[in-house]
């Protein structure tokens, strides 16, 4: 009953999106939008209703999972009555159909939110935006209903379900996909805004000011989603890695890079009326990357630990949608953007120039990740199989990212339109001195670390200082939220960079086959392996090791890593024991027993590694402050720009 209701709601939502598209197109015809017209006024409520219906459909799926309704094929294939309720809940999106339904729901709800809350955009651009959003939704509704129906029934009803992949039975994993999707799919709003503005030829500062909060909101979620995913991989996979340049990870990074560039570009458009074509292009690219990522993950075209059930037929369906939407948007771009009035030019030493360089470098990194991820397909077409992994990405993207961070430090210190390079040198002098000092210290006390981590550790403190420089000599209580947001977000980048470089340069590893009673060392810690005990949980059994750890002469504490075996489906996982201290993390995992009764222990001391994700959270928080500031200003009718 609920399943049929969910499916019905989905069909209704699809029908409404068709209606939204038709009404929007009709309202935009010459003469159709001139006078207050029932068509115009109908588009907004239809969009809201579509969002509500899609959300109801998704809630229906959640309900089916929570009740473990095994008559629904998806629940039977991906859930189990013995699972904890949190993982029944999260299991709804731990599979292709459910996550695709979440995808479409976020798309519909985002469109509904624009219809409900957007007040500043010109009427006809808003209609065009909603029509574009509806066009996208229509294709993906079709995909869902025709090729990935989450609500199909199973007959006869099985006695028990197959269970959820144990790697996904984790609180972090419950949080990561929805957060990521709010960002990844939420950026569709920017795409629709761009298409709408191209249609109504409304690319200008007012348009940018209206679009900015939506970009910010999606970007915040995307930042959080990627950060959460990285931390989850780090503690769950048992080897201490936090980024693998896996195709699916890259699929989430590419929209983030584009959205970050878009965020900055939209501010130049809002403040200085410049970078119009860039802004439109970035908005199109950001969501295009999201759609391409969705395609890569679900078509089986690239091998990945993350890939969903592989189905080339579904892949072909999505590819057709991509051709329609991205091809359509890029064609519209080619046809219309030359009619967009360009803004004033600016000097080579100016904040606009720094933002152009910022866009450039972000786009280059985006291009490199894109090419690197897809290149195996190119050589495959030529008959050769290659792999493109961390050695390539780190080597090409790393130096460019470092240059980008250096420019990020300089940008906020520059004035708009025209600044003096001697002034810049004066303002940037303190950070450069900090860099030099850091470099000296590292070369003296930590020789032998790689060139990239060395540069990272040198640049990070300098950029941290440069990030807070805009607050220098300001009345902090009168500083606008969006300035605080910028400062904290940029500081977060420096913090994250410091974490990444430190982890790369200073991690200490000890691998040992230990007998109970044996003591070993890693970094400043001495670790005594006390005992190994069997232990059981709701749907797993495990071997748990007990370790007593001391740091130098400090107090002893216990760690208990586990090697688990889940029951359905039978899968072994490693549950690492992590101890977080002020300057890093001690990470311990247990492996197998060897023939002499010794147990394999893996121990890592990772100095400052938590800064990676603390930095990520800071970036998102900075974005949140900026968003709140913008929204507050809009509500109070205050001017959006304060020339900082």
């Amino acid at each position: 009953m609920i399943a049929e209701a969910g499916l019905g709601a989905l069909w209704l939502a699809a029908a409404l999106s068709l209606l939204q598209l038709v009404l929007g197109t009709a309202a935009l015809r010459p003469g159709g939008g001139a006078d207050p017209n029932p068509l115009l006024r109908a588009v907004r409520p239809v969009a809201v209703a579509q969002g509500v219906l899609a959300a109801l459909s998704f809630l229906a799926l959640i309900w089916l999972f929570l009740r473990t309704d095994l008559s629904v094929a998806l629940v039977a294939a991906n859930s189990h009555s013995a699972k904890p309720w949190l993982y029944k809940f999260a299991g709804a999106w731990g599979n292709h159909e459910g996550s695709m339904l979440l995808w479409v729901t976020v798309l519909a709800v985002a469109g509904g939110a624009v219809a409900l809350f957007e007040r500043r955009l010109r009427q006809d651009t808003l209609i065009a935006t909603l029509a574009a959003q509806a066009a996208i939704a229509l294709g993906f509704y079709a995909f869902l209903l025709v090729a990935s129906n989450p609500f199909t029934r199973l007959s006869p009803v099985p006695v028990e379900g197959n269970g959820l992949n144990p790697l996904l039975q984790d609180p972090g994993l419950s949080f990561h996909p929805p957060t990521l999707y709010f960002g990844y799919v939420g950026i569709s709003v920017a795409f629709s805004f761009a298409v709408g503005a191209l249609i109504t030829r409304d690319v200008g500062p007012a348009f940018a000011r209206a679009m900015r909060p939506w970009v910010l909101a999606a970007w915040i979620f995307l930042t959080l989603g990627i950060t959460a995913g990285s931390y989850w991989a780090y503690y769950e996979l048992g080897w201490g890695g936090w980024w693998f340049w896996d195709p699916v990870e890259n699929a989430s990074l590419m929209p983030w890079l584009a959205a970050t560039a878009l965020l900055h570009s939209v501010t130049v458009l809002a403040t200085r009326a410049g970078l119009r074509a860039w802004t439109i292009m970035l908005a199109v690219v950001a969501f295009s990357m999201s759609m391409i990522g969705t395609f890569l993950v679900r078509s089986g075209i690239l091998t990945s630990v993350h890939a969903f059930a592989v189905d080339p037929l579904r892949g072909a369906f999505i590819l057709v949608l991509l051709a329609l939407y991205i091809g359509g948007a890029l064609t519209l771009f080619g046809l219309r953007v030359h009619t967009v009035k360009e803004g004033s030019t600016f000097e080579i030493v100016s904040r606009e120039a720094a933002l152009v360089i910022n866009n450039l470098l972000l786009s280059v990194i985006l291009g490199l990740v894109f090419i690197g991820t897809l290149y195996p397909l190119v050589t495959q077409a030529m008959g050769e199989e290659i792999s493109v992994g961390p050695p390539y990405f780190n080597r090409v993207a790393g130096p460019i990212a470092l240059a980008l961070v250096a420019v990020m430090g300089a940008g906020p210190l520059l004035r708009w339109r025209r600044d003096d390079w001697r002034e810049l040198v004066r303002r940037y002098a303190a950070p450069v001195l900090i860099s030099a000092a850091a470099l000296l210290l590292l070369v003296l006390f930590a020789p032998g670390i790689g060139i990239l981590p060395l540069l990272g550790l040198t640049i990070a403190p300098a950029i941290a200082a440069a990030s807070v420089a805009p607050l220098w000599r300001r009345n902090l209580r009168r500083t606008p939220f969006f300035v605080w947001g910028m400062v904290i977000a940029h500081l977060g980048i420096a913090v994250s960079l410091a974490g990444m470089a430190s982890e790369s340069a200073f991690t200490k590893e000890t691998l040992i086959a230990a007998s109970p009673g044996q003591t070993t060392h890693v970094g400043p810690f001495s670790v005594r392996f006390d005992s190994v005990n069997p232990i059981a949980g709701p749907n797993w059994t495990a071997i748990e090791a007990r370790l007593t750890v001391r740091r130098g002469d400090g107090a002893a504490f216990a760690l208990a890593p586990q090697a688990r075996m889940f029951s359905s489906p039978p899968t072994p996982t490693s549950e690492a024991a992590i101890r977080t201290v002020w300057d890093g993390q001690l990470y311990v995992a247990i492996g197998e027993e060897d023939e002499q009764g010794r147990w394999q222990l893996r121990l890592w001391w990772k100095p400052l590694v938590t800064l990676i994700w603390v930095g990520g959270a800071m970036i998102a928080f900075g974005g949140l402050l900026a968003l709140l500031g913008r929204v507050r200003r809009a509500r109070r009718g205050q001017p959006q720009e304060v020339l900082t």
Partner: protein, 175 residues
Amino acid sequence: MKRIVLWVPLFAFAVFLAVVASGLYAPADRNIESQLIGQPVPEFDLPPALTGRPGLSSAALRGGDPHLINIFASWCLPCRVEAPQLAELSRRGIPVDGIAVRDRAEDLSGFLASYGDPFRSIGADNDRRVQLTLGSAGVPETFVVDGRGVIRHQHIGAITPQDMVAIIAAYEAAR
């Protein structure tokens, strides 16, 4: 901005579509093949996996007549599926040598007792050294090696009745 530049993104997207479509319609063979086909068998010398039967060495493969080398293990389920086919090959006079990967003698003899024993010799490869040397990426795999010790053919996966024709043909070609 020059007009032609505006169309570069669309063109780049078209290239992307072409690359990806080719990947979709000619999907990659997920099997990892050995690169040593056509090259001499690398030197190796494996101890016997079972008492009373010789181990396997590369020297033994240069004896003048072609051999089948079957890389298998008692813990490998598809190996059970191909046992009848291997027995049939051995019955036809094709010499079948085995490399047992990470196996214990008792498990191995149990496997052979249950599923048949077509092997003239079985080498014990307990750390996968020789499997990696030959460019084999899993079990079961079968190589056809000719009389001069040159690898002529690789079959990945269990040998099904439908594969027999190709294997026999490869063996004949290696003579």
